[in-house]
């Protein structure tokens, strides 16, 4: 039976990972993800998890060691944030190309500079096109659930891809929430033991990580793209299994009060929970507002997005990163691109908020939604606005 717990989310994430019995954990400290590997090392030290915890000398080596471990047939886990993700960036796209089902938690944090340890999504957005499955948790419960789901999705024979689970730094990593923690028995039932397709071992000789000449590179990249696109089907199946076993529903784009909505906000990560309260306030004012909470970022859920926005007059895409010099924020770019071919599409406005941990409260979401509704009459001059800039 699952147990109701009150715990810091990073620690709960570590407990959830431990329930998945990884063989090797390699991590390097960086705020704000650090409590996850720290607590995993506690769990190993207490003898509750039989794993090798490698205290590597850099994030580059953290992911590299996971590649070696996964390549040798072990279940491997790492976690990082911000500059750490960029430090391992050389290895990031190689992992899906080698079809190594590594799971990584990312405690999302702003990229330097100026150096800043607090939350935004600029770290993961920089690795958007690397070929990983990428999910965003909105709260502690989703963090626990996604950590466990991630291993099953990653290791599915038709997927065999790495998964990163994004949880907002501090807003999630350092917050204590009530959550349901599955039992070991429940996780064992949900997640079968990892059986690698291939592993470097003398009993079954393989060469992993070959050189591809131009004659084969297109094909390799197409295979990498297709397997990621096709993984959505498996993700949906596994989420269905999760719902059946644990009663908690997961969808690529979660909906909140979308019935009859004319205006909707689309968020990633923890800001969705704050936005929910704003939607309640707007509904009380008689505004037909709803919320779309994107949980699956890669593969990008195009079909689900089209379905979710059909009938909307206005869509407000909330970004938590800047695509410097680009046409709009990274999430909005993708949303607009997905909707471009549609005959009927909502007016899209884009607000970039909460950079480097800047607090965003309910009133801000209400204000943004009201501005967006106003934009239906008078189109804004700019394609996006960095919201809440002092002096502007």
């Amino acid at each position: 039976m699952s147990e109701r717990i009150g715990m810091e989310i990073a620690l709960a994430a570590a407990e959830a990972v431990a329930l998945c019995k990884p063989d090797v954990v390699a991590a390097y400290p960086i705020t704000p993800n650090t409590h996850i590997p720290e607590h995993l090392s506690d769990i190993v030290a207490e003898g509750r998890l039989d794993a090798d915890f490698i205290c590597v000398e850099s994030e580059h080596s953290a992911l590299s060691a996971c590649c070696g471990a996964s390549g040798a047939g072990a279940r491997a886990f790492t976690a990082t944030s911000s500059q750490g993700l960029l430090y391992m960036a050389e290895v990031v796209p190689i992992v899906p190309s080698m079809r190594l089902p590594i799971v990584m938690a990312i405690g999302n944090r702003a990229l330097s500079g100026p150096i800043n340890i607090w939350n935004d999504h600029s770290d993961i957005m920089s690795q958007r096109d690397s070929g990983w499955i990428s999910m965003f948790a909105a709260d502690g419960q989703e963090t626990i659930d996604m950590m466990i789901q991630a291993f099953k999705i990653a290791e599915h024979r038709d997927v065999m891809l790495p998964v990163n689970v994004n949880l907002d730094g501090f807003q999630l990593t350092h917050v204590v929430e009530p959550m349901m923690m599955p039992s070991q028995k429940e996780v064992d039932k949900f997640l079968p033991a990892y059986k690698p397709y291939a592993a470097v071992h003398p009993d079954n000789i393989v060469s992993m990580g070959s050189l591809a000449m131009p004659e084969i590179f297109n094909e390799a990249m197409m295979a990498k793209d297709q397997v990621l696109i096709n993984s959505k089907k498996i993700i949906l199946e596994i989420w269905k299994e999760w719902e059946e076993q644990f009663g908690r529903k997961y969808e690529p784009i979660g909906e909140y009060r979308m019935e009859g909505a004319e205006v909707a906000m689309l968020t990633l990560g923890s800001m969705g929970d704050t936005a929910e309260v704003a939607i309640d306030a707007l509904r009380e004012k008689g505004v037909k507002a709803g919320l779309l909470k994107m949980k699956l970022w890669r593969p990008f859920p195009v079909e689900e997005l089209l379905k979710a926005v059909s009938g909307l007059k206005s869509l407000v895409v909330i970004d938590r990163a800047v695509s410097f010099g680009g046409p709009c924020g990274p999430v909005c770019l993708e949303v607009k691109s997905a909707l471009y071919d549609q005959k009927e599409r909502p007016l899209i406005t884009n607000y970039i908020i909460g950079l480097g941990g800047r607090d965003v409260v309910v009133a801000d979401f209400v204000k943004i939604a009201e501005q967006a509704i106003g934009a239906q009459k008078k189109k804004p001059a700019k394609a996006y606005e960095i919201y809440g800039v002092r002096g502007s």
């Binding site: 590649c67 070696g68 060469s207």
Partner: protein, 320 residues
């Protein structure tokens, strides 16, 4: 047959006939590194996993869909052979403990060139050595970034001309001395460190066998002649390696638990370094002054090494 008298005839019989690094790879003719790897694999035997840094050996051996390797082999990137190796070693250890793989010792062996060892892979190597993984790291040092076209590395010797520090009217080639990587690795309290060269195949293979048996980190530094980059005739590959030892440019030694041992293959008296330099186009431009400077440095480095071999004690001897 008298084994001692006919050792050169008898010695090859000691070598494993099995090939683990197979013919058909795309190394340049006369490549010392490819030869060294073939010998290394024979010394290691089948219970081995090879972790390869990006570089010549990866490029020439695994052009998809072919592979030259009959040993399990993995490559991820340039700077991380040591950390990928740490992950492989950890996985094999845990999976064996958990009964998920056969209960026998598999040795993880990381290989990299001098760029992947001295420079870009140095941090990962230091980390893996410091953490004490049961990993043998073999550096095949051809003294420059040969795969990308002979650029200067931290292993390039003083005076050598490369494509990024070429000799010219205002340059004598590399102005700095080579990094002493074996000494740096030994300073990690690694129980077994050795230098070797493919031109002394049995010595190299014996060192690989010894390192393989170490339960913990070990490091072998294998000078690997690159005829392409050194501007040496391909048939002079072995000769160049021998001259490196005979002139004292590259002394052969072991450091076992802190105790330095000079190989009996080192000459009683060093040949003049000019014999080594004149064979190679990369040193063609050197002036008499530069050659003298190199000669002096070789004598100093050899004396430093002989002093250590004479005066330093093993850790066991130093225990209180």
């Amino acid at each position: 047959m008298n084994i001692v008298e006919n050792f050169d005839l008898y010695a090859p019989r000691l070598v494993d006939k099995e090939e683990y690094f197979n013919a058909g790879h795309r190394a340049c003719s006369g490549c010392g590194e490819a030869l060294a790897i073939r010998l290394m694999c024979k010394a290691l035997g089948e219970d081995t996993v090879i972790v390869n840094a990006t570089g010549c050996m990866e490029v020439i051996s695994v052009m998809y869909p072919t592979t030259a390797w009959s040993l399990p082999w993995i490559h991820v990137a340039f700077p991380n052979a040591a950390s990928v190796g740490a992950g492989v070693e950890a996985a094999l250890k845990v999976l064996r403990r958990k009964g998920k793989i056969a209960d026998r010792r598999i040795k993880t062996v990381c290989i990299g060139g001098d760029g992947g060892t001295f420079d870009i892979g140095f941090q990962a190597l230091s980390g893996t050595m410091e953490r004490g993984h049961d990993v043998l790291y073999v550096c095949f040092d051809n003294e420059a970034y040969m795969n990308t076209g002979i650029q200067r590395s931290g292993a390039t010797p003083f005076g050598a001309s490369t494509t990024t520090n070429p000799a010219g009217a205002a340059s004598q080639g590399k102005d700095e001395w080579k990094k002493n990587i074996a000494e740096i690795i030994a300073s990690h309290n690694v129980p077994y460190v050795a230098t070797a060269c493919h031109s002394y195949p049995l010595d190299f293979m014996n060192k690989v066998k010894k390192a393989r048996e170490v339960e913990g980190p070990s490091y072998i530094h294998c000078l690997s002649v690159c005829p392409t980059g050194w501007r040496v005739q391909t048939e002079d590959c072995i000769k160049a390696g021998r001259l490196a030892v005979e002139t004292g440019v590259f002394p052969l030694y072991e450091i076992e638990n802190g105790k330095y041992t000079m190989s009996s293959l080192n000459p009683e008296e060093l040949r003049p370094v000019e014999d080594y330099l004149k064979l190679q186009g990369r040193f063609r431009h050197l002036t008499t002054d530069s050659i003298e400077k190199i000669q002096d440095r070789i004598i100093l480095e050899n004396n430093k090494l002989l002093d250590k071999a004479e005066n330093l004690h093993s850790w066991a001897e130093l225990e209180g």
